[in-house]
């Protein structure tokens, strides 16, 4: 039987700039003390109010306490990418106070009241919500997120699966996984309170501007194929830094079988207006649009033509799917040792369709992932050039996507962060605004973390 072999290529992961050095692995650099965060928080002490329900099991309360204690005091017994404590890494102290909220059905109201009352007294809120998932649109999780965004309250929500994970890790003495969780949690808090842990050493090139586009279709139906929905756009510069957001409610036409989306005739002008509002300064620039939904050719043409008419030098519309069908396995017995390297890629069709590993093994730890993660198979993402057909999906396009993925700071190399930050945060923004129409564009992108 003929054997087919194809080559999996690879490029380097990005280099990050920190205070005191540059590195491809910022957590390792911070952990070793060789680097410090690029920008520290000015306040030496951060007052944090920890909110949890009146009725909480002892096990969960202990897990929450342990999490907070580890955040401040570090995780002992872990040597690889050790977490020594918040102050040791970021130079700022977290000072906790605790408060309970009513455990009744509509407990969100109680949380919101506390946030409102404590907004001036506290710099940050950690909220444990016993929700099994991040919830549907207009659900409890998004209610709190939307309130925080509107009222500029900095918070970190912990949902039930996170607490369950902590309990599981501690029961199994899986301290590596626990250590990872604390790193992610700490980085999230640090960026939300105004710190910048790192930035790219070099800008991305030749792209000047990244536009992320995300659509949330609302539940109501307006006839057989017409649906109301939210289109959100976010702009990022070629350092991968957030610049602007906008959203609008539009009428979409959805083909049910393949869920292909188009803009309804009456909403075309509104959609063009949205694009024009956030792309005032794109004259002569190279634009890449990242999106993940499946849109019609008509939709792509409208988006492309609007950007070109606005003066863009070039435009590429690139679709990024987290559900690539490709799976690669190295070792059939132990999935955690089976992953290809980060930044490995393969073009199914040269210049058009590629599969890229944005998570996986890192250069320094060839035989294992840098983080201790449950033994899921790490999956590549699928990247395809949607429009214009005359253009090409290049290695730079893949590299930019990888770099943008690594800019989702607090999940730097965990397999959960597999799509670029622009797309992930734009989708989150769209979900929040679809849950609460009072929410405007975020002044600071970390509200969406």
């Amino acid at each position: 039987m003929k054997e087919l072999k194809v080559k999996l290529n690879r490029f380097e992961t990005p280099i990050f700039q920190l205070d005191g050095g540059e590195t491809r692995d910022p957590i390792r650099c911070l952990s070793s003390g060789l680097c410090k965060p690029l920008r520290k928080v000015i306040k030496p002490n951060i007052r944090v109010l920890v909110l949890f329900p009146e009725q909480i099991s002892e096990e969960k309360r202990n897990a929450l306490d342990r999490l907070l204690s580890s955040l401040v005091n570090g995780v002992e017994e872990v040597r690889i990418k050790r977490w020594p404590g918040f102050y040791e890494i970021f130079g700022t102290k977290l000072v906790f106070e605790h408060k309970t909220y009513s455990s009744r059905d509509e407990y969100v109201e109680s949380i919101l009241r506390t946030l409102s009352d404590g907004a001036k007294a506290y710099d940050f809120f950690i909220i444990y919500m016993p929700e099994p998932a991040k919830s549907r649109l207009k659900g409890r999780y998004f209610k709190v997120k939307a309130y925080a965004l509107v009222n500029r309250i900095k918070e970190q929500i912990i949902i039930k699966p996170t607490i369950d994970k902590i309990i599981k890790y501690l029961n199994r003495r899986d301290l590596l996984s626990y250590n990872d969780l604390i790193w992610n949690f700490a980085l999230s808090i640090f960026t939300k309170i105004g710190g910048i842990p790192w930035r790219l050493k070099n800008p991305m090139s030749p792209t000047d501007v990244f536009i992320a586009l995300s659509t949330i279709i609302k539940p109501e139906r307006l006839g057989v194929r017409h649906r109301a929905g939210i289109a959100a756009l976010q702009i990022y510069n070629n350092w991968g830094e957030y610049e602007q957001s906008i959203h609008g409610e539009l009428i979409f036409i959805r083909e049910e079988v393949k869920a292909i989306l188009n803009i309804g005739r009456d909403s075309r002008e509104d959609f063009v207006r949205l694009i024009l509002t956030v792309t005032k300064n794109i004259k002569g620039k190279n634009i890449v649009v990242h999106l993940s939904d499946l849109y019609s050719k008509d939709f792509h043409t409208l988006l492309y033509d609007t950007l070109i008419q606005q003066g863009a030098a070039s435009v590429k519309i690139i679709r990024i799917q987290t559900d690539s069908p490709l799976r690669l396995y190295k070792n059939i017995k132990d999935a955690s040792r089976a992953w290809p390297m980060v930044a490995s890629y393969w073009f199914l069709k040269s210049g058009k369709i590629a599969h890229l590993y944005t998570s996986g093994k890192w250069k320094y730890y060839v035989h294992k992932a840098p983080y201790a993660i449950p033994k899921h198979t790490v999956r590549p993402i699928q990247i395809s050039l949607e429009y214009p057909h005359s253009s090409e999906l290049t290695l730079n396009d893949l590299k930019d996507i990888l770099w943008l993925t690594k800019l989702y700071t607090y999940m730097i190399d965990a397999p959960r962060a597999r799509i670029p930050a622009d797309l992930k945060l734009c989708r989150r923004y769209a979900k929040i605004v679809a849950s609460n129409e009072n929410v405007g564009p975020p002044e600071d992108i970390t509200y969406l973390y």
Partner: protein, 314 residues
């Protein structure tokens, strides 16, 4: 050092370039493609036969045998019928090859005792599985049967690369709830079956698709549309309970079902371990298989990936 990876990807090795013999004829004017497609699907499910393999696209009917052409006589222009060889050299024929291969793969799995369930990840796609413990885990309670199913989701790329068709067989899982005691699901999210939703549309009733089960009166479910804040009466057999994370968690079955569908129910199980088992259930040899597309046989071979240590393009 070079690393070698197993994959879930197959590519045609015979014939190369891929070419399939088909009969083609235009549809009569005013015949809508979706009507013909519906008839084709019905025929396929009645007969489960390789001769039913046909595709409607670009105003034409493409079929691997004359049986289909005869059956669909009323829709086609018969005097323009011809037999041609299609390859992946243009979009239309690539689409024809892709769909014919998908249907052949359907048959291939059905003949080997597989059944299907809809994919949550990709709309319109299906997961193939068998009623065996490696594919299905059940948790039975007084209120319901909670089922975790895992299997293979095929995806075909035909024409992306001229001359080739690629088939991915991706391991994927899904959850199902079979209700015994509807009372236990009062206040929970429910879905209305698609056919009944169509009926509601035909009756001019607006709905949002976010429903909660309010009450049950004999065989009628009183369902609240949470978006429009109104009550609908729906026959009990026209609703079902979606297996959401929230609901599975509420009934304390989430962890065990999720462990099964994410291939980690035991220390010995990995995703590759499952893929290997599933492929062995479907194929004589996991390295290659042959699909019968009418008179044409197409042989597919598994692809291995080589990863080199050196970097490129940076």
């Amino acid at each position: 050092m070079t690393e070698i990876y197993f994959s879930n990807l197959y590519r045609n090795i015979d014939p190369v370039p891929i070419r399939i013999s088909v009969f083609v004829t235009p549809l009569k004017n005013n015949v809508q493609e979706h009507i013909v497609q519906k008839r084709l699907t019905e025929m396929f499910h009645q007969m489960f036969d390789v001769t039913c393999n046909a595709v409607v696209t670009h105003g034409k009917l493409y079929a691997v045998s004359l049986n289909v052409i005869e059956e669909l006589n009323e829709f086609i222009v018969k005097n323009k019928l011809k037999q041609i060889m299609v390859t992946t050299d243009n979009e239309e024929h690539s689409k024809v090859i892709g769909r014919l291969l998908y249907r052949s793969l359907d048959l291939f799995f059905y003949e080997r005792g597989f059944v299907t369930i809809g994919s949550k990840i990709e709309k319109g796609k299906r997961i193939f599985y068998k009623n065996k413990p490696i594919f299905v885990r059940e948790v039975r309670t007084h209120d319901a049967i909670f089922r975790a199913v895992r299997g293979l989701r095929p995806k075909i790329y035909a024409g992306a690369v001229p001359g080739f068709a690629y088939i991915f067989l991706t391991p994927e899982g899904a959850h199902i709830i079979e209700v015994n005691e509807w009372e236990a699901f009062l206040g929970q999210q429910v879905k209305i079956k698609r056919n009944y939703l169509k009926e509601l549309t035909n009756r001019g009733i607006n709905y949002s698709n976010i429903f909660k089960l309010e009450d049950i009166i004999t065989n009628i479910a009183l369902v609240k549309d949470l978006y429009y804040d109104k009550l609908l009466k729906v026959p009990l057999n026209q609703i079902y309970v979606p297996a959401t994370t929230k609901l599975l968690s509420k009934f304390n079955v989430l962890d065990s079902l999720q462990a099964f569908t994410s291939f980690r129910e035991s220390e010995q199980m990995t995703e590759y371990g499952f893929l290997d088992n599933a492929l062995n259930e479907a194929l004589v040899d996991a390295q290659s298989f042959k699909l019968e597309v009418g008179p044409t046989d197409v042989t597919f071979c598994r692809i291995y990936f080589e990863e080199d240590e050196k970097y490129e393009g940076t």
